[in-house]
Amino acid sequence: MKQDTDTPGPMFEVSGLTKIYRTGEVEVRALNGVDLKLEAGEMAVLLGPSGSGKSTLLNIIGGLDRPTAGSVKFRGQELADANDRELTAYRRNHVGFVFQFYNLIPSLTAWENVALITEVSANPMTPDDALALVGLESRMHHFPAQLSGGEQQRVAIARAIAKRPEVLLCDEPTGALDSATGIIVLEALARANEETGATTAIITHNAGIRKIAHRVFSFLDGRIAACDINPVRVKPSEVSW
C-alpha cells in the first residue's frame, strides 16, 4: 500500500462500520454503523463504558481486525478488504500501537525493544531519540523486568513513535497505572503527537483525560453517541484524574 503523503483530506474516513461477533448461537454487535473522520495530526480521545466498542474500532483502524460491513479508508485506501499481507505491511509502515499491558518483549532491553521496530522502518528516528522523547535516556539498557509500569509504558510509546507513524493508536494506555504515572505517560503521548504529527487516538474510560484532546468521541452500544470539540486543550499535567 503506497501513499502520497501530501494527499489532502482526512487521515481516516470510517463509514457505516459494523462488526458482529458470532460465538455459536450468540451474536454480539460490537460496532453498529459507526461513521467518523480523523484528521491528520489530530488527537482524539475515545470515551465510553466498557463493552461499547472502542477497542473494536481501534483494532479495525489499526489493521488488526476486519469489519463485518462498512468501510474504513486510510488516506483514501480501503482497509476493509485488504488481505493479511497487506494489513501486516500497513501496520508495519504506518501504525504505532500502545496497549494497556505494554506488550514489551521481555528478552530485549528498552533500547532493543525500540530498535526492533526501527530496524525494519523506512524513516525512523534513532532509538536513543525516541527514548529521549519519553524521558527514558537513562534507562535505555534495562530489561522490562527491571522497569516500573510507567517506565515500561513509556518504552512502549517510544517504540510506537520511533518509526514516525502516521497513526498512533493507544488502547487504555494509563489503565494499569496510578494517576501520577498516568500523567507522565499522557505527557509523553502529547509530546509525541506534537513532535511527530501522528494522528493520535487514545481510548480511556477516565473522563478527565478528555480535555487533552482536540476532539472527544463518546461511545455507547457500538455507536458514537456524541462528538465534542474542545475549544481549549489542557496539558496532561493539569488534568484532574
Binding site: 501496520r91 508495519r92 521481555p106 528478552s107 522490562p144
Partner: protein
C-alpha cells in the same frame, strides 16, 4: 466426591486440549515399553527354551577329542568325581555330494549308540526314526540341512566316507543340542545347504573308520556340585596319551557360544535402549506438566484457597501423568507382543529348537508398566512439587516477570550485523532456561546416537568383510586333508582342475602357556611370503612371517598377558609332550577366532617331525569351479572344504536382508523420539511466547519473521544436538562393539561419514517437520486476544 469429579472433568479437558503433545509422549513411552518387552521377552524365550532343550537332550557340559582312545577309557572317565554321564563316540568330517548341487557340502558324521539313546547329547527326533543298527546305509540328518534340501525320510544322498563314496538313506530328521546354531568350519554365517550333520549307528562308523573298540570324541554331563575345572583336568590327563586335545566346556562350543552372543546382544539392548526412551519420556512429562502448572498457577491458588488439599492437587497432576503412561504402556505392550512373535519366528530360522515361544508371562508386562510409571512420575515429581509448594496467596498473583540477561555481558547486542533482534530474542530465551535447553538438546542428540549405534554395525561389518576376505583370507576355498600329507601334496592340489594358485598350510593343535595362563589354540604354519592368505598386523598391513617365533592375535596375546618379546611355552598336542619356549614376535589383527601363526618351517621344527601340510588355500578359476567341486567330491584325501567365496556372497546377502529391517526399525524409533522432543518443545515455547510473538505480529512483523524466532531457537538446539549425538553415538557404539567381542569373533569400531550424515539427516528431517507443524499455529495466533490480557 462431587468436587473431585470436577477435577476429573478438568483432567479430561486438559487431555483433550493437550492430545497431540500427550500422544507424542505416549509414543515415546510406548517405544520404551516395546523395546523392553521385546528384549526381555526374547531373552527369556531363548534362555528358557535353551534350558529346557538342553535339559531334555542332556546336552554335555564338557567335551573332548582324541585321535584314537580305547573304549575302555569310558569307564575310567565315568569314574571321575563329578561326572554324571559319559558318551564316547566317533566324529568325522565328511564331504557330502548332493544331486543337483555343484558345490560339495561339508558335514560331520557323528555316531549314536547301537541301542537306545545316547547318555549325553541326545537327538530330538522331528520325524521318521533312528537308523536300524543292522543297516549301515541308514542315517538321520539335522533339520536345517534337511529343510534346505527338501529332504524327507526315504531320500538319499552321497557322502565320501573314509575315501569311499557311499549312498546314505535318510530315516529321520533330528534336532541336536550341539547344533542349535549349525555353522560349518571356516564359515562366519550358517549355510544350511552346505553344512550337514549326519548321525549314524556306532557300529557302522566303527567299520567305516576302522575304530572298533575305540572312540575319538567324548562328552559328559556333570553332577550338580561337580568341579568342572578338576573334571576337565582329569579328562585331559586320561586322554593325553591318545592324542587328546584339551577338553572344553559349553562356552567354547560353537553352537552354544553363538547363542550366548545373541543373548549378550539382547541384554545389552535391554540395558541401553529402553532407558533412553524412559529418560526422554520423563523429561517430556516434566516439560508438559511444568508448563501446564505454570499456566494454571492461579487456578491452583484458587483451589487451595477454597480448601483443596495439597495431596488432592498433587494427585490430580499425577493422574494426568498416569493416564498418558497407561496409553504408552498399552501401545507399547501391543506393539512389543506383535514384534516379539515376529522376532521369535526370526530366531527359529537361525536357531534350531523344537519350539521357540515368545515369552508373554504377565510379570514381563508388569515390569514394563511399573518401570514406565516410575519414569513418568519421576519426570512429573519436580513439576508437581512446585504446584504443591505454591502458597495460595502467592499463587493467585501473577508470576514475577521473567528476568532476562544479556549474553556475553551485553556483547550480544553489539553483534547487530550478525544477530538481528529477533535472533537475540531466541538466544536469550535459550540461555534463560539452560537446564531445559540442555535437556532438549540431549533429547535430540539421543535419537542421533541411537541411529549411529544401530547403523555402525554395517560399517563395521563392511570393514570386517574387507579385512577378512579382501586383505587376509583371500582364498576362494580352503581344502583340508583327512590326514596330514607330505609337502608334495600341494602339487596335487595345484593340479586339481580349476585351481589357479594354491598355498599349503600346516595346522597343529597346541597349548600355549604363559605363567599360570594357558589357552588351547591351533597354530597355523604358512610360508613366509604367502599372498593368498595373509596375516595382518595391527595396522592391517600384511606381515612377512619371520623364520622363528610366534605371532598371536591381539585378543589371544592379551588373554595370555603376552607382549612382543615375551617367551611363550608351546606344547603341540601330537602326543610328544614336548614343551618349547617360543618368542612372541608380533601381535596381529584378527576378527574371527583366536589366531596363532608361525612360518611353516618353524612349525615343522617345533613339531620335531618331518614337514607336513594339513591342507591348502586355493584361488579358483571362476569358469571351472564346477570341475573343481567334482574333483573334490572324488578325492578321498580331502576331508573338508570351506568355500570362502560362497561364504562371502552368503554373508553379503544376509547383511543386506538385515539392513532393511534394522534401518526401518531404528529410523522409526529415532523419528518418534525426535518428534516427541521437538514437537513438545515447540508447543511449549509457543505457549510461553504466544503473547510476545503476537505482539510482533501486531507491530507489523510477518508470519515468516515471527516464526524465525521460534525456529531459530529450535534450530540452535537441534544443530547443537548433532555433534553431541555423534559423540554419544560413538560412545554407545564402542560399548556395543566391546560387548560383542568374544573369542569367536569381534567387530571393529568403524563409523563412516555417511552413517553420521544419515543419522543426522533423519533427525533433522523429523525435527523440521515437527517444527513446521507447530509453526503453522503462528499463522493462527489471535492477535487481539493477547493484547487484552496479561500473561
Amino acid at each position: 466426591m462431587n468436587a473431585l469429579s470436577m477435577l476429573d472433568r478438568k483432567l479430561v479437558r486438559d487431555l483433550v486440549r493437550l492430545w497431540a503433545q500427550s500422544l507424542a509422549v505416549a509414543l515415546v513411552m510406548a517405544c520404551g515399553v516395546m523395546t523392553l518387552i521385546l528384549a526381555l521377552g526374547a531373552t527369556r524365550a531363548l534362555e528358557d527354551t535353551r534350558a529346557a532343550f538342553y535339559d531334555r537332550t542332556r546336552f554335555g557340559h564338557v567335551f573332548a577329542t582324541a585321535i584314537r582312545a580305547p573304549e575302555s577309557l569310558g569307564t575310567k572317565i565315568a569314574a571321575i568325581d563329578g561326572v554324571a554321564a559319559v558318551a564316547t563316540r566317533i566324529v568325522h568330517p565328511v564331504i557330502i555330494d548332493i544331486d543337483g548341487m555343484a558345490e560339495p557340502a561339508t558335514g560331520q558324521l557323528i555316531s549314536i549308540p547301537d541301542h537306545g539313546e545316547a547318555a549325553v547329547n541326545r537327538l530330538y527326533l522331528r520325524s521318521g526314526r533312528l537308523p536300524e543298527p543292522g543297516r549301515p546305509d541308514e542315517v538321520t540328518v539335522i533339520e536345517a540341512f534337511a529343510e534346505a534340501h527338501g529332504f524327507r525320510s526315504g531320500d538319499s544322498f552321497a557322502a565320501l566316507i573314509n575315501g569311499r563314496k557311499r549312498q546314505l538313506r535318510i530315516t529321520g530328521v533330528t534336532l541336536s543340542p550341539e547344533h542349535v546354531y549349525a555353522i560349518g568350519p571356516g564359515d562366519i554365517v550358517p549355510d544350511q545347504k552346505r553344512y550337514g550333520v549326519v548321525h549314524m549307528r556306532r557300529t557302522t562308523l566303527d567299520g567305516a573308520y576302522d575304530m572298533q573298540s575305540a572312540f575319538n570324541s567324548v562328552s559328559l554331563t556333570l553332577s550338580r556340585h561337580a568341579n568342572k575345572k578338576q573334571v576337565m583336568a582329569r579328562l585331559d590327563a586320561i586322554l593325553k596319551p591318545y592324542g587328546g586335545v584339551a577338553a572344553h566346556d559349553r562356552s567354547d562350543h560353537p553352537s552354544d557360544a553363538f547363542l550366548d552372543a545373541e543373548l549378550v546382544q539382547l541384554k545389552a539392548m535391554a540395558q541401553v535402549i529402553p532407558p533412553i526412551f524412559l529418560f526422554i519420556s520423563a523429561f517430556l512429562v516434566n516439560m508438559i506438566l511444568s508448563r501446564l502448572i505454570a499456566l494454571e498457577r492461579e487456578q491452583i491458588g484458587l483451589l487451595k484457597a477454597v480448601g483443596y488439599s495439597n495431596s488432592g492437587i498433587a494427585w490430580h497432576y499425577a493422574k494426568l501423568t498416569l493416564v498418558i503412561s497407561v496409553a504408552g504402556v498399552i501401545i507399547g505392550a501391543v506393539a512389543g507382543t506383535r514384534l516379539g512373535h515376529g522376532m521369535a519366528s526370526l530366531y527359529s530360522e537361525f536357531f534350531s529348537f523344537p519350539f521357540l515361544v515368545f515369552s508373554q508371562r504377565p510379570d514381563l508386562y508388569v515390569i514394563a508398566t511399573l518401570v514406565t510409571f516410575a519414569a513418568a512420575l519421576a519426570g512429573a515429581a519436580n513439576a508437581i512439587r512446585g504446584a504443591v509448594r505454591l502458597p495460595p496467596a502467592v499463587a493467585m498473583r501473577p508470576p514475577a516477570p521473567t528476568r532476562y540477561r544479556s549474553l556475553f555481558g551485553g556483547a550480544d547486542s553489539g553483534f547487530r550485523p550478525l544477530f538481528s533482534h529477533l535472533t537475540v530474542m531466541a538466544l536469550r530465551h535459550l540461555v534463560r532456561w539452560p537446564v531445559r535447553t540442555a535437556l532438549t538438546t540431549l533429547g535430540t542428540a539421543l535419537p542421533v546416537a541411537l541411529l549411529i549405534t544401530s547403523l555402525f554395525a554395517f560399517d563395521s561389518i563392511d570393514s570386517m568383510i574387507d579385512t577378512v576376505w579382501f586383505r587376509a583370507d583371500r582364498q576362494d576355498a580352503t581344502l583340508t586333508f583327512a590326514a596330514s600329507q607330505s609337502e608334495d601334496a600341494i602339487r596335487s592340489v595345484a593340479h586339481l582342475p580349476g585351481v589357479i594358485a594354491a598355498e599349503p598350510f600346516r595346522a597343529e593343535a597346541a597349548t600355549l602357556r604363559h605363567g599360570h595362563l594357558s589357552r588351547q589354540v591351533q597354530i597355523i604354519g604358512t610360508d613366509p611370503h604367502t599372498d593368498i592368505s595373509r596375516v595382518l598386523d595391527r595396522d592391517f598391513r600384511p606381515v612377512r612371517l619371520p623364520p622363528n617365533g610366534l605371532l598371536l592375535s591381539e585378543r589371544l596375546a592379551s588373554h595370555l598377558d603376552l607382549r612382543p618379546g615375551d617367551a611363550v611355552e608351546v606344547e603341540l598336542r601330537n602326543g610328544q609332550e614336548r614343551r618349547v619356549l617360543v618368542p612372541l614376535v608380533g601381535v596381529t589383527n584378527s576378527y574371527i577366532g583366536l589366531n596363532a601363526n608361525m612360518s611353516r618351517g618353524a612349525l615343522d621344527r617345533l613339531s620335531g617331525q618331518a614337514a607336513r601340510i594339513s591342507g591348502a588355500r586355493v584361488i579358483i578359476d571362476d569358469n571351472r569351479t564346477e570341475d573343481l567341486y567334482d574333483a573334490v567330491k572324488q578325492t578321498p584325501a580331502i576331508a573338508s572344504v570351506a568355500l570362502q567365496g560362497v561364504s562371502r556372497e552368503k554373508f553379503r546377502a544376509m547383511i543386506e536382508e538385515n539392513i532393511g529391517i534394522s534401518v526401518t526399525v531404528y529410523v522409526s524409533l529415532a523419528i518418534i523420539i525426535t518428534v516427541g522432543v521437538i514437537y513438545n518443545s515447540a508447543r511449549i515455547q509457543l505457549s510461553e511466547r504466544a503473547r510476545e510473538l503476537a505482539s510482533l505480529r501486531v507491530f507489523g512483523f510477518t508470519n515468516g519473521e515471527v516464526s524465525r524466532v521460534l525456529l531459530t531457537e529450535l534450530g540452535v538446539m537441534v544443530v547443537l544436538a548433532q555433534p553431541l549425538g555423534w559423540l554419544i553415538g560413538r560412545g554407545f557404539s564402542e560399548l556395543v562393539a566391546t560387548g560383542f567381542e568374544s573369542d569367536l569373533f569381534r567387530i571393529p569400531l568403524v563409523i563412516t561419514p555417511p552413517t553420521y550424515a544419515l543419522s543426522s539427516l533423519v533427525v533433522l528431517g523429523a525435527a523440521l517437520v515437527s517444527a513446521l507443524i507447530v509453526r503453522r499455529r503462528i499463522d493462527r495466533l489471535d492477535l487481539i486476544r493477547v493484547l487484552k490480557t496479561r500473561d
